[in-house]
Subunit: 192 residues, 2 copies
DNA sequence: GTTAAACCCTACTAGATCACTCTGGTTTAA
DNA sequence: TTAAACCAGAGTGATCTAGTAGGGTTTAAC
């Protein structure tokens, strides 16, 4: 049930770009992202390239160039990123919504394993398709500000002062049931 | 987020052994399991060996030998099987309960990705650790009987007549919150 | 006591994937 | 002109995947 390093790094970088945007930095260089997250630069460079091809980020070439999110963080779900990098969320092909594949079992309709794995895939997708980068950025910044940790990517000396735009939650999709978990618990209050 | 073929085959075989026990068959041969599930015999043989080493099944050697579950199906959770075959359920090491591994990120406490992935791991474990083979066997048999499909592994000619023991649900653990999904919906009624 | 049917054990392997590294481009601001 | 950045593609060792191959050992039945 693993997320690959590539997928992990991609999400880390995108979340960082989301934080950067929130804090007033329009462009971040690969080298800075790589250093902050302790990712091999050249490897991350490849990943950023892929994220650009897929329309998640845009780049500015040349000196003082860098990357930024191609659209608001609220419009990029975590699930869409994971699917691009690591493929379908479903544990087995016969329960995938985006890449269904007939399995070898003789009777898919009466396959208990399939029902179980469908539940698993729905649980995973229920989280990853519900939350956007903006949600992750929001909980991260919230926790950091509460603990008075200096925010990353701040140009200004006073963390969190410059260009603190209000993050808006990604629109809740009516076809998804509510989930409970750390993230959703973090939203109503600051209890954690 | 994949389950390997090996993991899939292992679960299929175990579920079949659960069905067989429920239907009155004490021993099933690898060849029969392999044929039913369309798994390469020699590959499944290996897997059964592993399942034996791990204490999920016991074998009877010699002619008319075979395999059976080493303990009641209700005492074998799906999660325990997946962990043995495919490793930890958590998408990334830093949220694994059974195989925690420090990740490369600079500040684990304020890592939004980690919080998100912890939710995912809890969602997965919430399902796979909750349900036992007995649960999967039960929904399978229920669906089959409802649709009047002949039950597999029946020695008797009248499906479902011989030795229909009552399956007992695995004890609900109080530390796990209820989940919704196909399986739990299937239990209270026959609606699907 | 032979035989056939079953499990048991070990080795091997082609191909894919993973997690990078290496080598050089090309673009752009100063 | 130069330096800092992105762009592009090839290569690579290790590991994993999904098996295959070839036997050996045990047991029930004849």
């Amino acid at each position: 049930m693993k997320l690959s390093k590539k997928g992990e790094y991609a999400l880390r970088a995108l979340i960082d770009l989301g934080i950067a945007a929130e804090v007033g930095r329009s462009l971040v260089q690969v080298s800075e992202l790589a250093e902050k997250e302790r990712i091999p630069v050249k490897f991350l460079e490849q990943i950023m390239q892929l994220l650009k091809e897929e329309g998640f980020v845009v780049s500015q070439r040349g000196k003082f160039g860098g990357y930024r999110l191609a659209r608001p963080a609220a419009k990029i779900t975590v699930g869409s990123v994971v699917r691009i990098i690591d493929g379908p969320l479903a544990p087995i092909g016969c329960v995938s919504h985006t890449a269904y594949e007939k399995c070898s079992c003789p009777d898919e309709v009466h396959c208990g394993l399939r029902m179980l794995m469908l539940d698993v895939r729905n649980a995973i997708a229920g989280i990853l398709d519900r939350y956007s980068l903006a949600d992750v950025v929001e909980v991260t910044l919230r926790k950091m500000r509460r603990d008075e940790v200096p925010l990353p990517f701040s140009d200004s000396l006073v963390p969190g002062r410059a260009a603190r735009r209000i993050t808006f939650r990604s629109p809740l999709r009516s076809d998804l049931k509510p989930v409970e978990g750390i993230l959703s618990n973090l939203f109503p209050d600051y209890s954690i």
